[in-house]
Symmetry: C2
Subunit: 111 residues, 2 copies
């Protein structure tokens, strides 16, 4: 499937998005999805098919932890929280992102 007509710029930045979102406060997956969509007016999205593998990835790296809890609506949900090393990683990835954008701008403005 996947018509793939848009360049997938998201590629490689989902981890950064998730880490940054969890640095605001612990949250369950579905809440992350909504947070990102709302914040970016739908420009970025963290869909289940990408999000849950990403969360697993981050957990495996020790950058987030997960624990089952009750959501305010009464259902059970898996709450993810960023770790200390996750915060370090967030810093690294943020810097990398800025460097990347900077470099892109230089290319886009070249004459």
């Amino acid at each position: 499937m996947a018509p793939r007509d848009k360049t997938d710029l998201l590629h490689g930045s989902l981890d950064l998005i998730v880490l940054r979102t969890l640095s605001v406060q612990p949250m369950h997956g579905y809440a992350i999805t909504q947070h990102v969509a709302r914040l970016t007016d739908g420009v970025l999205s963290a869909d289940p098919g990408s999000l849950y593998p990403a969360l697993e990835r981050l957990k495996r790296n020790g950058w987030i932890t997960a624990k089952w809890q009750q959501s305010p609506t009464g259902r059970r949900a898996r709450y993810y929280a960023i770790t200390r090393s996750g915060l370090t990683q967030l810093g690294r990835e943020t810097n990398e992102f800025e460097r990347f954008v900077d470099a892109m701008r230089r290319v886009l403005r070249a004459t």
Copy 2:
């Protein structure tokens, strides 16, 4: 191979880089590589293994053309030039990129 320790933010933006570079002037592949590396101090790179497939991709989409010519050094080289529809595409991808960066910034600054 590929230790893959850095988030590959480049993913999906190589086409934009190439289109923008060729919009400055027609150029052969190797020159694109050098142009990008020099412009970004090595932050971004267009390596052969990614570049030539990308050029083929862009050509297939009608966004660039290719023709063999002599390079200033006397060797034969394949010169790529952006087409009219390539310029349109460049505009589209530039907008998308800005929208993406904008959205990312909103996420990175959220509280």
